[in-house]
Symmetry: C2
Subunit: 414 residues, 2 copies
């Protein structure tokens, strides 16, 4: 057995314990939160090594900021774990049930996934966030973070494992892969005998690598080429306001918009107002020819590629379309199925858009920035699924469970 | 673009039409049913070629029987399509919803998967069964049947496509891959740009190949190493009756049992009665040493492998265990997570078993043969999932849908 297979076998064994651990899970989570706070100095010390290594490796300031842990952030991680403990148990909910004609009583009940793998990048807080959610959902978790955060992750995982052991939980409930080579990631993606699901959390490159290489079931998360379509009947001020918010409130996240489509009938009036808003944050506009005709030289000519990518920056692609149908065609071609919005005052346009757009979250007259587990009221979020299997959109604790049928009889045969 | 990519692109285009086709789907299904009946002679002619080829290739009688179509079976296929048309639409169900504090109205609604791939073996009836279910669920379907049935499948798919075209449906709603090479199957498994989910229907070899090679999301189906555990408090006559039914009513199917575990305290009394039942169908018993001590020379010594495989035949592995815990350990090691049963009269044993066994269907005092979409009241069945993601156990129309969030506002920004 490889080292990872040994880790997988231990996790699978731990999963059997967790499956019926009930409220003991909450005690363990509270112990983890306490241990994180009590060991903050040790964690910060380890984090300092990552920060120094990161500086030496020339990481950008924003990456260094994501990587950095201090008292406040560790306190926030502990708070997060406590909040997960306070949520109701997603395991054991009866989803449906009935009595069959032959007297069999059948019910469909939520159960833990078993062993969940999480592959993520340079944010060490994911180590405790993801572990807490998986534990609460009754699953063992195998974590594989980015190499930039390896010292921090090792420290955080060590603290969590010690707390779990003290709470009487078996080894293997939480495991961290400390080998950060590409090969260890690939091996995790193919650990079919032990892994029930793998959730990658990161950028487009990571997601693509997982889709290419994984043999275990995967939930794809995150990539969002999101759109606002301004219908001919739109309230223009509302449209400008939503576009400004969806583009500039946090351009680096997946629910920020990348392209605005404007109906030709309203473009002459709407585009200057939209631009006036975007100018407040110096957003670069990459537009089609008709956009340039209306807005003038400030418009950078948009290429095909500009409609396809996530800028994740103060850049917005703009296209004038002749109809709602043309907007739907554009979305069918370029959307990554994350979040799209129509701004309209027309009842039928709103209905057609919500019914026809094939994305995880479809908005009428509101910002795509709401696509988030917290905003949707899910309590916590493990990621945002952009695939159609199992979970779509923000995933909370419920999406980390599976189900089984329990059938009770008194001798029935078929 | 390869031929399969062209097929995928057409299917994706057709999926846009199907997404909002509503009750028109039922009209199309009724047209397909009529067309199957009207063209039965043509389908039987094509099927005769497959049967002749199959005989020449030395297919077993049972395989030839699965392959054979006659008037009655084609009528059955048409009936099946009509039954699917009569089911309620799985698309557009509101799964949950609420109004957030900021006034946003959010709901989670079922939507079609998009494009579904089905890989199957030599049963030509799957061609119409699977296509009908996918269409009803609002998805386009790409079918890839076994080479033994290629002429029958081509005829059935041709009749369906003609009926769909006449009903005004676009090309691409139903496609059949006529290249039955291994390579075409692999290409389908990796058609990530066009396929939203792939469902293999067949034996362990097919499932394994899909898990090894697929890059698209997959729902694993079918492999069932199912068990009955006879607790020390069991009603022995009930246990013998359930074991006889679960082993012999149809040994070739996935919900038939392969191993019986018997509590040591009851083994001496129970095993002879169980054997007496099984003798009616000359079931071979492969047992542990303790089983052989009780039942004598008729017992073939069981190997490790006998506990791991599906016999799919009149063969049963038997093991005497010392406790419920030992039974649970055995299941954790050998079960494929399909269906398991406890026979018991003890309240606590029943609870522990249903809570601790990690299988799609967990039974108390009833035959595992009930694990079936029809028996569970799902209306129709596309397969039985043995994975934990998305669907587990018998899958009906609902399991062929995804969901999306629709959020309605009046200008909300974050």
């Amino acid at each position: 057995m490889t080292q990872l297979e040994i880790m997988g076998a231990k996790a699978k064994e731990a999963a059997r314990f967790l499956m019926t651990a009930g409220a003991k899970k909450d005690d363990a989570l509270m112990a983890i939160a306490r241990a994180l706070r009590a060991n903050s100095a040790k964690i910060i010390e380890a984090n300092n090594i990552d920060i120094e290594n990161g500086k030496a490796a020339g990481l950008t300031d924003s990456l260094l900021d994501r990587l950095r842990l201090d008292e406040g952030r560790i306190d926030g991680m502990a708070d997060g774990v406590e909040q997960v403990a306070a949520l109701s148990d997603p395991v054991g909910r009866v989803l449906e049930g009935r009595t069959l004609k032959n007297g069999l009583k059948i019910e469909k009940v939520t159960v833990p996934m078993g062993v969940i793998g999480i592959i993520y990048e340079a944010r060490p807080n994911v180590t405790s966030d993801a572990a807490a959610l998986c534990l609460k959902a009754g699953s063992a978790v195998i974590l594989r973070g980015g190499k930039e955060a390896i010292n921090s992750n090792t420290a955080v995982a060590g603290v969590m494992c010690a707390a779990l052991e003290e709470a009487g939980f078996p080894q293997g409930c939480v495991s961290l892969i400390t080998d950060t080579s590409r090969q260890s990631a690939t091996e995790l993606m193919q650990l079919t005998e032990y892994l029930d699901v793998l959730i990658p959390r990161g950028g487009a490159g990571l997601i693509k690598s997982v889709v290419e290489n994984a043999k275990v079931p995967v939930i794809e998360t995150g990539v969002g080429n999101c759109h606002v379509y301004v219908d001919k009947s739109a309230d223009i001020d509302m449209a400008a306001n939503i576009i400004f918010n969806a583009k500039t409130s946090r351009p680096s996240v997946c629910n920020a918009i990348e392209t605005v489509l404007v109906h030709a009938d309203i473009a002459k009036e709407a585009l200057p107002k939209i631009k006036a808003e975007l100018d407040k944050k110096n957003v670069e506009i990459r537009g089609c020819e008709r956009t340039a005709e209306i807005l003038g030289d400030c418009v950078v000519p948009a290429t095909e590629n500009d409609y396809a990518i996530e800028f994740l920056d103060y850049i917005l692609a703009v296209k004038v379309v002749d109809s709602l149908d043309d907007a739907l065609d554009h979305l069918a071609k370029y959307s990554t199925g994350h979040s799209e919005c129509i701004v309209t005052s027309d009842y039928e346009s709103a209905n057609i858009f919500t019914e026809s757009v094939d994305s995880a979250a479809v908005y009428v007259n509101s910002s795509t920035r709401f696509t988030d587990g917290g905003e949707f009221g899910l309590g916590a979020e493990i990621g945002i699924s952009t695939q159609k299997l199992h979970a779509r959109g923000p995933m909370g604790l419920n999406e980390l469970t599976s189900s089984k049928f329990i059938i009770r009889g008194n001798g029935q045969i078929r």
